[in-house]
Amino acid sequence: MSDNTRIINDATCTFCGCVCDDMHLTVDLDAHKITKAENACVLGRAWFKEHGIDEKRPFALIEGREASTDEAIESAAQILAKARFPLIYGLSDTTCEAQRQAVAIADMIGANLDTTTSVCHGPSGMAFEGVGESTATLGEIRNRADLLVFWGGNPAESHPRLFTRYTVTAKGMYTPQGKKDRTVVLVDVRRSPSVAVADIFVQVKPQRDFEVLWALRALVKGRRVDPAIEQVTGVSLATLEDLVQRMKNCRFGALLFGMGLTMTRGRHFNSGALLALATDLNEYTHFVAKPVRGHGNVTGADNVVSWQTGFPFGVNLGRGYPRFNPGEFTSSDVLGRGEADAALIIAADPAANFSHAAIEHLKRIPVIVLDPKLTHTTKIARVAITTATYGISVPGTVYRMDDVAINLRAALPSPYPSDEHVLTRIKERVRELIGGNRVPAMGAA
């Protein structure tokens, strides 16, 4: 380690949706590395340490051949200008500034626009549209919540500082003793390491979350629930009744839920049942719910796509205006049906986690990828552009899981361009090629 170091205080970690903005980073300027990330959790430390500047990566690859960023931008623009059903996907690990450019491109060429929300909390977004949501900023939960119910997630491993900075052990205005002032409940299908912080652990049979949530709603409303619920869900009626009493009698309750609800049987019905439960409890006390979001700026993607198009994800702009239909315009579905004829993927790796049919289709069409790292998707890409990592080398704006917008401080100078820069130039070049926004003929058959 050299003496040529620089300290950056109050930097922001974009590894997960907690977006902790209290990182004190030590940067070794000679080694192009962040050597210390004070306040970071185990995941954050890895995030900062493993994103040193790797100057050996080519600026871009076009059909596997090394190329300059300029050449790659030209190729990308040519592909997008020719495409009749382009897909733009990803966006959850980049800045809002880049997201705004991506949506602008989608609007210009009439693309299908989607984010990784469609494969994580998309069902919660749909549930939100159905029943609404009582929610709060994380600071509100930290300062006030005397009952915390974590459901379908394992924050101890996925979001370690959710417990320590925002909820369980964090001390607040009306919770000066931290954990001593709160009751912590964990509901999950398995004993994960998060059980350690829980005062009460409720183990649900796999795929039975909906039934438990619905029984809780019934009990909150004073309806009778058949004790046979235990055979179906693995949770006794007495346990449910106890939980309902705690929820009704707390002063400020919070339900924090993960993909254990959204990506298992029931999906948006599960999220909807949970959101409705929190709403119902407001008859008795103050109660909020919060989806625990994964990627560092997936919440920003929801926000940007919503304010620009009116809808959060799964948006098709092919007709000249936004249309929303999850299941139809969500990327895994579009690709699974073999529909898109080109794809622009920003900061996501669908080739690693989409269905076989979707990945096979991705292999058939020209794919453009912007990513700081080599991924499964860059490997199948026609054009792969190396970009600088947001929050490490790129400043800008991200949204924490509770919709609070937070600034990024760039710590390490990078030779690679930002996503925003590349997308802006692609946008400008496509505009030159197609001569302005593509406007479909109205009334054409």
Binding site: D22, E129, R165, V288, T309, G320, F324
Partner: protein, 558 residues
């Protein structure tokens, strides 16, 4: 460079009432003489007004985006297709950002103020503003439930209170301080969704009353010399009998400037009903008070029948409405700063309360003796969308049309109001120009807006004259923003970004040493990451503070 010739000009701030005048534009400003090589626009048979100024609407920021996301059903039927150079979007009562900017411009509006942003949401609001084209815009930060301000006020630290307020306005790039149901949030969040109903009651967890909070904020804003006074959403919004609270709030402001937001929602009396008290109209009492107190201004907050979206920092109110309606509901608590409630809503002409609200709004307009201080708003989208402004203008200008509409509503409600007694005033074009542009601009302290005198921003709307005032105001022929012909013959010709209007009052930097420890202890975001830095601003204009006025007098009076 433009030379707009032969149009009939309505420029009330400069005393021009429908005279045929030529208007000259150079470098984005109105100028006195014809600039060389000016493009000539023949406006014969047309009406020329300054661009519209909406001083109270909800168009950007955290709650607006939640309301957008909440209602795909409100967008699908009202799409906004892109053109070769304008962006696509969707409408409904909460349009996407691009559609918001374009549609305001299409109505001849060139400035709009977002009326309630929790300070921590300032960055988000600015981001949406960047994507809201054409119009200039600013926002008010909600400070009436701010926990740190409460703590300072509770201990009588008035100077630090004022400095903290100034710091917050500067840090967030806001326009003024907004109060929403002052004192209500602590009861809502901390005492099982309770509320506060009397201005003299103790606020939950504090040795403080709403009365003290209201007085302190009104005074501090005046002392800072902000161009627009404290902007107040009074307690008890929507509740029968709330006019007494409104009068009490206005009395607290004696000796100071204060603006009462959407005053229609605060002008209700009460009579005993079957299950609860029914509302009645107290528009006359409220209008009388405003008419005789030049320190007070208000926007009406007219209700328009049809779909609306309730979005408010008044969380207990939204919850009450959500329980009536029974549909989806959003609550969103913001640490130490605000509450928030959102729900889809619809005003129905046959429902007693809704019809009464509609009629009270019109009463307030028609009983107002000073259009400069009782200005136009629907509290978009709470009372109705800004897209209904042309219809509201027709209701004010066209007595026969108004009578027809009155015939359709709940007659029991109508009988409660002065409308039933033949209140048959008709607004003139000059009065419309006052309540929709000149008045709001003056109340906002925007010296370069709302008029067409030399030096004014060249924000100009040109309408074809039409007997049908709804049609006339719905379809201006040309709209000029900062001297650029943005809309020509009803079509967009150019893209324009518009700019942020904000204040930057001075404060003692030592106040940061008071605020920082509070952040360390109680906020979930670092103090150093809270203030919006200049890189976030884009095009912007700082509206200077004015010389504090009447403060000393107000004090000696009290």
């Amino acid at each position: 460079m433009l030379h707009i010739a032969n149009g009939r000009v309505y420029d009330p701030a400069n005393g021009v009432d429908g005279k045929v005048r030529d208007i000259y534009v150079a470098n984005g400003k109105i100028v006195k003489d014809s600039p060389p090589n000016a493009r000539r626009i023949d406006a014969k048979g047309m009406v020329i007004m300054p661009g519209g100024v909406d001083m109270h609407c909800h168009i950007a920021g955290p709650k607006v985006n939640l309301a957008r996301k909440l209602q795909p059903e409100d967008h699908r039927h009202d799409v906004h297709p892109r053109t070769a150079f304008t962006r696509s979007g969707v409408g409904g009562t909460v349009p996407s950002t691009f559609a918001t900017g374009y549609r305001y411009a299409l109505l001849g509006y060139t400035t709009a103020m977002e009326a309630a942003v929790p300070p921590i949401g300032a960055r988000h609001t600015l981001e949406e503003f960047h994507d809201t084209p054409v119009i200039d815009k600013g926002f008010y930060i909600v400070m009436g439930n701010n926990v740190l301000l409460y703590k300072l006020l509770e201990k009588g630290r008035r100077e630090e209170f004022r400095n903290a307020l100034a710091w917050w306005l500067t840090a967030t790039k806001a326009y003024t301080a907004k109060l929403v149901n002052p004192g209500g949030d602590e009861a809502w969040k901390g005492r099982r969704n309770a509320n506060i109903t009397k201005l003299g009651d103790k606020i939950e967890s504090f040795e403080l009353t709403p009365q003290q909070v209201i007085a302190a904020l009104i005074e501090a804003v005046d002392e800072l010399g902000l161009p627009h006074p404290a902007h107040i959403h009074c307690n008890n919004l929507g509740h029968s009998g709330n006019y007494a609270t409104t009068l009490e709030t206005m009395r607290i402001a004696e000796g100071h400037r204060a603006h009462i937001a959407h005053i229609q929602f605060h002008s209700y009396g009460e009579v005993p009903g079957k299950s609860s008290h029914n509302p009645t109209s107290k528009a006359k009492d409220i209008a009388d008070y405003v008419n005789t107190h030049p320190n007070i201004s208000a926007d009406v907050g007219q209700v328009m029948f049809g779909k609306s979206t309730i979005m408010t920092a008044d969380a207990p109110l939204a919850y009450m409405l959500a329980r009536f309606v029974g549909g989806k509901w959003v609550n969103s608590d913001t640490e130490h700063e605000s509450g928030c409630g959102i729900l889809p809503f619809a005003y129905q002409d046959k429902v007693y309360t809704h019809a009464l609200q509609w009629a009270i709004g019109l009463e307030l307009f028609l009983l107002s003796k000073d259009p400069w201080r009782m200005v136009f708003s629907t509290d978009h989208p709470n009372g109705g969308s800004f897209m209904s402004y042309p219809r509201l203008i027709r209701l004010l200008m066209d007595r026969e049309y108004r009578k027809e509409e009155m015939g359709k509503i709940n007659q029991k409600a109508l009988k409660q109001t002065a409308l039933a007694d033949g209140l048959d005033r008709e607004y003139t074009l000059q009065e419309i120009a006052i309540v929709t542009r000149a008045g709001p601009a003056r109340l906002l302290g925007l010296a370069n807006k709302g008029h067409l005198g030399p030096g004014a921003d060249a924000d100009i709307t040109i309408y074809d004259e039409n007997e049908d005032k709804e049609r006339m105001f719905a379809t201006p022929r040309h709209v000029i923003k900062d001297g650029q012909m943005i809309i020509e013959n009803h079509e967009f010709r150019e893209e324009h970004q518009g700019r942020l209007l904000h204040v930057a009052p001075e404060y003692d930097p030592k106040i940061e040493e008071v605020i920082r420890p509070f952040f360390d202890d109680y906020y979930s975001i670092r103090f150093n990451n809270y203030a919006v830095d200049d890189s976030h601003l884009g095009p912007h204009e700082i509206i200077p503070t004015i010389k504090p006025r009447s403060t000393a007098k107000g004090r000696s009076k009290g």
